[in-house]
């Protein structure tokens, strides 16, 4: 068995909207993800998958339960330490790409390395390598508004990979793309998974996309209702 990257035990997340009204979004989620897995988390909107993603991505802390990311207990960390975890351990890919505007592709890719304190020369070299991997090296000096959606998403993926994170956390990465470009992005994830051995957590509401992955975790009303475990018959 390979190393455990994500180890969640009985995660509960509550929001307090005024004193008497508390809203429990996650009702005790337990989930383990191992190194090199390609997992999809599926659920309808309102099922709690976004909240779960925020916790996995160290953007938020659970109200109760324990979450170990690479053996580090996230629930006890302060803001600065969470920032460091996001920088080093997590690579985010968003539905709306979220590139920084007025900043060219290569600088966008460099950004996580800048916050990690990587020297300028070194991060430029790495950024160019990553753009090569996602097939965007000829667009390095383009600004986001000069790129198509698919191109933006590929740059976002390159950026997510910058600090060699433990997991690539993709939130509806094809949601804003047409089916053909969406296909290309999914192919890129499969390529990264196979060739680079990247651990990928894909959050989606689409069962078809989930079908492509090795393992499907289904969430409903804040609880895991199904987990296929690692399958060999994943479509690729």
């Amino acid at each position: 068995m390979s190393r455990t990257v994500i180890s969640m035990k009985n995660i509960i997340k509550r929001y307090y909207i005024g004193k008497p009204n508390e809203l429990q979004i996650l009702n005790g989620i337990s989930l383990d993800v191992h190194e090199g897995e390609f997992v999809s988390i599926v659920g309808q909107s309102g099922s709690g998958k976004s909240t779960l993603m925020n916790i996995i991505g160290a953007l938020d802390r659970p109200t109760e339960g324990s979450y170990l990311l690479n053996g580090i207990d996230i629930s006890t960390l302060d803001d600065a330490e969470l920032s460091r975890i996001r920088n080093q351990e997590i690579g985010f890919v968003f539905q709306t790409f979220n590139l920084i505007s007025r900043t060219d592709a290569v600088r966008n890719v460099e950004m996580p390395m800048m916050y990690a304190g990587v020297p300028r020369k070194q991060r430029l070299k790495r950024a160019m390598e990553l753009l090569e991997i996602v097939g965007m090296s000829d667009r390095a000096s383009h600004q986001p508004n000069e790129l198509s959606g698919g191109q933006k998403q590929r740059i976002a993926i390159a950026r997510a990979m910058a600090n060699k994170p433990s997991i690539l956390l993709a939130d509806e990465p094809t949601g804003a793309l047409d089916s053909r470009t969406g296909r290309m992005i999914m192919d890129l994830f499969h390529k990264l998974h196979k060739e680079e051995g990247t651990t990928i957590v894909l959050i989606t509401h689409s069962p078809e996309l989930a079908e492509e992955t090795q393992r499907i975790v289904t969430i409903s009303d804040g609880s895991i209702i199904a987990d296929t475990g690692v399958r060999d018959n994943a479509v690729s």
């Binding site: 991505g57 920032s83 996001r86 979220n98 007025r102 996580p112 800048m114 916050y115 304190g117 020297p119």
Partner: protein, 441 residues
């Protein structure tokens, strides 16, 4: 590393909203330019006064006036004093002999004019002035030879310092005047005396301009010649002489207040010894008065600058306002940066640097405008003086002198305004919740 990156980012963001950034800077620009304009005018006035003052001759002397000792004399209105009660040559001589290192005398007395015949037998007139001290104390520049000195006076030497114009009037061209003897007829007694030329001074152009009528021939121009005062007194059998006031030059290596105290004590003692306790001296010093004028101008400049600086606070609030708008607009960007691992401190630094940059650019533009203002006001003043009082135009060399400390303080103040008014919005950005920021549209 990240600091440089932040500066680059700040530039990008300022350039992306040029018009807005410029309007934001306006408050800072107006504040700083007002301060720089005022300080430039203030320091230019000081510099102009000092220059004008210095061009009139050395200022390193005390004016010592003999006057009634009001502490001693009860009925000051009916009290009168005689000529012999004033400053005597004996006293003054004793002063420079007691303190040769501190003081030197500068006394002059006119002895009428004297007519000479030059090599072509033309008439050349000179005004004879007896002097103790230096001709260059009166703002004259020696071209050749030496000055009349104290030894010339003590030893009653027949030495003379003449003007360059006199040399060309009296001697054939290319004559070395030094060592030549000229004969003067003393106006009072009619006796003739020989004097040896020891030095030549340059007739100041200002003097030539105002002393002679336009179109006057060089040969008709009367110039001063300087001879030792005591030699003249001796020739005319004037034993002692008395002065209502005397210029006493001092050595600038020593503290001026100390020297003034010594003078005051010396003369008080002298009058006591002479059993004239009803007399004393009053001492004035131009350098000190200049200092007072300068400090008054400085105080006024600073006071007006402080009022002008108040507009900087208004400018700073403008910067704060626009930074708050900016972080609201860029909430999403802040969220993305946080998701990518930016620390709160990085975000804070990014926005503080942006605010500093806006203020600094505003400050620099303000300084340039302020300097241009000061320059044009100086030029206007110059033109005005030249046109309205052309006769004083040469006297007042208007010097435009920007105040360097004011420029340095302005730059520092701009940066501080940026930090002060940028910190609150930057901190607000830094403390944003990344989830909410990411969700912001």
């Amino acid at each position: 590393m990240q600091f440089l990156e932040n500066i680059r980012l700040a530039f990008t963001s300022v350039l992306a909203n040029k018009m807005r950034a410029l309007l934001t800077m306006l408050g800072i620009i107006i504040g700083i330019s007002a301060v720089i304009t005022i300080t430039t005018i203030g320091s230019s006035i000081q510099k102009t006064l000092t220059n004008t003052f210095n061009s009139l001759g050395s200022a390193n002397y005390f004016d010592v006036y003999s006057q009634i000792n009001y502490e001693y004399v009860e009925d000051v209105y009916s009290f009168t004093y005689k000529e012999e009660d004033m400053l005597s040559r004996e006293m003054l001589n004793e002063l420079v002999e007691t303190y040769p290192d501190y003081f030197s005398l500068d006394l002059t007395d006119g002895f009428g004019s004297s007519e000479l015949r030059n090599w072509k037998d033309q008439s050349v007139k000179v005004a004879v002035t007896g002097i103790i001290g230096n001709v260059n104390n009166s703002g004259l520049k020696l071209l050749a030879g030496r000055d009349i000195n104290y030894q010339d006076n003590i030893n009653h030497k027949h030495t003379i310092v003449v003007s360059d114009l006199f040399v060309s009037q009296y001697f054939p061209p290319d004559t070395n005047p030094l060592g030549q003897t000229i004969t003067l007829e003393l106006e009072k007694t009619g006796q003739t005396e020989d004097f040896v030329i020891v030095g030549v001074f340059e007739l100041p152009s200002l003097y030539s301009k105002y002393a002679y009528e336009p179109g006057m021939k060089d040969i008709d121009k009367v110039t001063f010649v300087y001879v030792p005062l005591d030699t003249m007194n001796n020739l005319l059998h004037q034993e002692n002489s008395y002065y209502g006031y005397a210029d006493i030059y001092y050595n600038t290596d020593y503290d001026i207040d100390m020297l003034q105290n010594i003078l005051q004590e010396f003369f008080t003692e002298q009058y006591e010894k002479a059993e004239k306790p009803y007399m004393t001296v009053y001492i004035e010093n131009m350098q000190k008065q200049m200092g007072m004028i300068n400090s008054v101008i400085s105080v006024i400049t600073i006071a007006i600058s402080v009022i002008a600086a108040i507009s900087l606070i208004v400018g700073g609030v403008g910067v704060m306002n626009i930074m708050l708008v900016s972080i609201t607009e860029r909430t999403k960007e802040i969220g993305i940066r946080k998701a990518l691992g930016a620390q709160n401190s990085s975000i804070r630094m990014q926005f503080v640097i942006e605010a500093i940059l806006i203020c600094l650019i505003g400050g620099i533009i303000g300084i340039i405008i302020g300097l241009l203002n000061g320059l044009s006001i100086g030029l206007i003043a110059k033109t005005a003086i030249t046109n309205i009082y052309p006769e004083y135009a040469d006297l007042f060399t208007i010097t435009i002198q920007p105040s360097v400390p004011a420029i340095i303080i302005s730059v520092a103040f701009s940066v501080m305004t940026g930090v002060f008014f940028g910190y609150y919005p930057a901190n607000k950005a830094a403390k944003m919740n990344p989830i909410d920021a990411l969700r912001y549209d």
